[in-house]
Each structure stands twice: as C-alpha cells, then as structure tokens.
C-alpha cells in the first residue's frame, strides 16, 4: 500500500470543477435526449387516438391491433426481419473469412483490398443502389430474365453492403492475434478447420460480434438500396412507409408504422438495459474473485 499525500484543494478550484461537471453532464443529457426525442414522440403517437398526430386526443392501443391486421404491412415487416437476419448471418460468416484472407496478404495487396472494401462504406447509398440496379439488370438481360429484381436481389444487395462492416471490425482484432497460435494449434493435432474454429474465431469474437451488430443495424434500417434493387413488388418496411408517404391519401398508415416502431424501440431498449445489467454483474463478480484471491 502506497501512502497518498492529500493536499486540501482550494475552494475556488472545487467550485470550478463542480460547475465544469454540471456543464458536461447537462450537455450529455441534452444531446442524448435530442437523439431519443423522435423515438419518444413515436411511442406517444403510437397510443394517440388522433390519426393525423397533430393533437393528443387520448390513449388507445387500437393501432397495435390494426398493425397485426394489415397484411401488406406485416409482409413488409416479415421481409425486413428475414432479410436482416439472413444478411447478418451470411455477411458475418463471409466477412470473417474475407478478413482472414485480407489479413494474410502482403502489405501492398492488403492496402488495396482495404480500399476496395471501403468503397461501399463511403459510397453514397444512391450510387451503390444504382450500381447494383444496373448489375442486376444486365445480369437479367444476360440470362434472359427481364424481371430479376425482387427478394433475392434485395438479399444479395444487403449481404454486399454489410460485408465491409464485418471486415472492418474483424481485421483490427485479427491483427492482434499471435501469428504462431494457429501453427501451434496445428502442431498440437488440430485440423485446419478445428484450428480456425477453436483458436482464431474465439480470439476475434468481439470483432465478429461488433460486425454482426453493425450489419444487422445497417440492413434493418436500409431504405435507399433496397428501394432501388427490390423492384416494385417486394417491399421492406422502409419501402412500405415511403410508398405511403407518396400516396397522400394513406394517412391511416402512419399510426400502424408508429406502433411497429414503438415495439422495436422498446425491445431494443430492453436488450440494452439487460445487456448493461449483465455487464455490471460480471464486473462485480470479477471484482469479488479478485478480492478473494488476494
């Protein structure tokens, strides 16, 4: 135990520190409130009787029932969720493998591949969407199918723009992995696949997890690219919403959209809270273990 010399702080510095922390704290609160403000309004609107949403005329759960009754909306929601899940799984697996590939390249090639990888990350959604639209159109012309655009092209497009995020989050972790670990595993009798699954993947799992989360977020929220490559028939939630924005007569669509998003936000919030509780408990346990071992 080292003894710390404590010097009494002058009062003026104490006050300025207090003021400083109050300013910091209120700034943080205001910005986070601003970011969450639309979500709060969406939750309020989802239980508002007023269809236009200009007045709060009373509490109702009617919209939640109507939401499950709307077949077009439900199919859009189903598309959104299934595309997001499939794209997340596919892009996480492929992105991890591709990151392994990029990691084993020599320096120059590696740099080139990273630049190529960053194209979809930086490119404007409109341009990415238009590019994919043309590729699918041309491919359709080549194989002789005029109307290729649909669910499959939307899924491929989502996998395409999700992979770079997985690669970017796995690569730095792969960089930290000891190059000899893999060889050691092979020497100890692992098959190449066993060494990959039991040694490499566990040591980069935080990167894989971050990548998967980003991929899911991107896919789940995407509008522009889906809109350009899915043709007119298949719709995800964003496309459904945009269509109802364009046809002005469909104000009745809005409360259902609010209801759906209120559910999503509340589920996401719950996951966030549970995750934090788990983390805090883990840290407490770790501390206990450390104290016991001392």
């Amino acid at each position: 135990m080292s003894r710390v010399l404590r010097v009494e702080e002058p009062l003026s510095r104490k006050i300025s520190r207090r003021v400083n922390s109050i300013i910091k704290f209120s700034f943080l609160t205001i910005v986070i409130l601003l970011l969450y403000f639309p979500i709060i309004v969406i939750i309020i609107q989802s239980v508002n009787i007023n269809v236009q949403g200009t007045y709060f005329s009373g509490f109702t759960l009617e919209w939640y029932g109507k939401m499950f009754g709307d077949r077009k909306l439900m199919s859009a929601i189903k598309n959104t969720i299934s595309v997001a899940l499939l794209a997340t799984v596919m892009s996480t697996v492929l992105g991890t493998l591709f990151a392994l590939g990029i990691n084993s390249l020599d320096k120059r090639r590696r740099k080139q591949m990273i630049i190529l990888n960053n194209v979809p990350v930086l490119n404007a959604d409109v341009v990415t969407g238009v590019s994919l639209f043309f590729i699918f159109k041309f491919f359709g012309i080549i194989i002789g199918k005029e109307f290729l655009l649909g669910y499959e092209t939307m899924l491929i497009a989502h996998i395409f723009f999700c992979i770079p995020y997985v690669v970017l989050s796995v690569l730095p972790k792969l960089n930290e992995v000891d190059k000899n670990l893999y060889d050691a595993a092979l020497d100890l009798g692992c098959t190449p696949r066993g060494a990959l699954m039991k040694v490499i993947v566990p040591s980069v799992r935080t990167g894989i997890f971050t990548g998967a989360l980003l991929a899911f977020t991107m896919s789940f929220d995407d509008f522009v690219i889906s809109y350009l490559v899915a043709g007119g028939e298949v719709k995800n939630f964003s496309m459904w919403l945009y269509a109802s924005q364009r046809s002005s007569g469909r104000t009745f669509a809005w409360p259902k959209a609010y209801a759906y998003n209120a559910i999503i936000s509340i589920v996401a919030l719950l996951i966030l809270v549970v995750y934090n509780i788990v983390i805090i408990n883990k840290q407490k346990n770790n501390r206990k273990v450390r104290v016991n071992s001392n």
Binding site: F27, L28, L35, Y36, F37, P38, I39, V41, I42, I44, G53, Y55, F56, L97, F98, L100, G101, N103, S104, L105, R109, I114, L116, N117, N118, V119, N123, A124, D125, V126, V127, V130, S131, L132, F133, F134, I135, I141, F160, I163, Y165, L168, L171, P172, L213, L214, T217, D221, F223, L241, Y242, W254, A257, N261, I264, L269, L272, Y275, I279, Q283
Partner: protein, 276 residues
C-alpha cells in the same frame, strides 16, 4: 495463417463484380443516348453532358454541398465535445456508450425523419402538448436540423475511437512539462484526433450531400437536392423524368468525390479503423 490467402480471392472477385464493373457501366452509360432501358435504341452521344449543364442541376449540386457543409460543421461542434466528454468519463464499458448511440438507429430512419418534420409544422403535437410551435417546416433550416439529428452518431463514433486510443501517459507528460489543461488539449489531444475528425467529416458530409429521403420528406417533395435528381432520373419517381444517361453521369460525379474520400482515408487511416 498464410494459407488463408485463398479467402481473399473470392472477395476480390465479389467486389470486382459489384463495385468495379458498375463504375465502368455507369461511365459507359453517361456517353449514350437511349429511350428508358432499351439498349437497342442506344447510340453514342454527349447529350447527357449537355443536359447536365442545366441550371437546375447545378443549383441542386451547390445546395446539396452547402446544406451538407452546414450540417457537418454542426455535427463537429456537437459531436467532438460529446465524444471528448464520454471518453473522459470513468465508464468501464465503452461498448455500452456506443450502443446508446446505435439504439436510435433501430427505429426506422424514414419514420424518425418524418416524425421530426411533422413536429416542425406550425400545427404539431408539440404545440398541443407543450405549447411550442417551431414552424420551420420545409425550410433549409429544417433539412439541416434533421441531417444533424440523423448523422450525429456517425461523427461521434470515429472521434470517440481515436480519443479512446490516446495514451494517457502522453497527457500526463504534457502536464508535467508545464502545459495547462487547455494547452494540453490543443497541442496533444486535438492533433491526435485529426484522423477521427476527418473520418467523421467524410461519414457525415457524403451521406448528407447525397441523401434523397431527408429533403424529400422534410420539404414534402418540393426541395430537389442531387440525390432527388438521381432518383428521378433512375425511373423510380415517375416515368416521364426517367433518363438513365443523365442519372449515370450525375452518379459518376458523386463517385469522383467518393474516390477522393477513399484516397484520403487510405492516407490517414489505412486500416479503416475509424470508419465504424
């Protein structure tokens, strides 16, 4: 680990098909003239170029750049202090802070844009409940406000990433050598966060300048930024304005800007760590 090289080739092929070929396609498309997407009527022409020198398009370009610039500057002004404060907080888990910022993105962006733009109308639920009427609906102010609210997290993430990586002993050294807090910030922290700020600028400016949903929803379709024009030309809005060559040419112009951003990123952050 060398044998994992074989995983790099399929990725190269995949990226070649979906990014490199389309760039050539867009480039080729801007030199032809045709009716909708009927390639039998296609012929070589510079008509896309002459059509693109339309004052409406030039105006859309300058407006897009101006509004996106304002939004980006506001994002730096709000985002840098935010990232700085949080990186100095004593939270043990940086991931939960990132989650707090990611969380709003799970709520559909179009719906969030719509909700905000409805609040900006003279008659809104804000006026009904709190008695505030903002009444800036459809204006450029409204578009910028929505851009900032939507893209602020993309400014905070990269700045936060670089601030997290600054070695605390550097700051201690600076203080030991006699610099006060402000000078330490100016001479140590700020130069070390340039990488994050540049990534943040790119990650906010490009999507803001090319967004077509935000201006469309906020202005009810009256404001035309460059993204809206490309959308029109690509035949999704209505059939009459469809003109693939012009749309391709405008996309190529955006792509040139993106290439510049790619080059910049490859200089300042070769591993792309600040792009997440």
């Amino acid at each position: 680990m060398k044998k994992f090289k074989r995983f790099a080739w399929p990725y190269f092929f995949w990226m070649f098909v979906f990014t490199v070929i389309p760039i050539f396609l867009l480039f080729a498309m801007s030199f032809i003239e045709m009716k909708s997407l009927n390639f039998s009527t296609a012929r070589f022409s510079f008509s896309a170029f002459s059509k693109s020198f339309n004052p409406i398009y030039l105006n859309a370009f300058t407006n897009s750049i101006r509004l996106a610039l304002i939004a980006t500057v506001l994002c730096i002004i709000i985002g840098y202090p935010l990232a700085y404060i949080v990186s100095n907080l004593n939270i043990t888990n940086r991931f939960s802070f990132l989650l707090i910022l990611i969380m709003p993105m799970f709520t559909n962006m179009l719906l969030r844009v719509n909700t905000i733009s409805k609040l900006l109308k003279p008659e809104s639920i804000l006026k009904n409940v709190l008695g505030i009427s903002l009444n800036i609906s459809g204006s450029e102010k409204a578009v910028v406000l929505v851009m900032v609210l939507m893209y602020l997290p993309f400014m905070v993430f990269p700045i936060f990433t670089v601030l997290e990586k600054i070695d605390p002993s550097l700051l201690e050294a600076s203080r030991d050598l006699g610099a006060n807090n402000f000078k330490t910030f100016l001479k140590v922290t700020l130069p070390l966060s340039v990488k994050g700020i540049s990534s943040g600028i790119i990650m906010v400016f490009l999507p803001c300048a090319t967004s077509f949903t935000i201006p469309y929803i906020v202005s009810d379709g009256t404001m035309k930024l460059i993204g809206n024009i490309i959308e029109d030309k690509m035949g999704l809005g209505n059939v009459i304005s469809t003109d693939y060559p012009v749309g391709s040419l405008l996309s190529i112009i955006i792509l040139i800007a993106v290439m510049g951003a790619l080059w910049l990123i490859s200089k300042i952050d070769a591993e792309g760590e600040t792009l997440l």
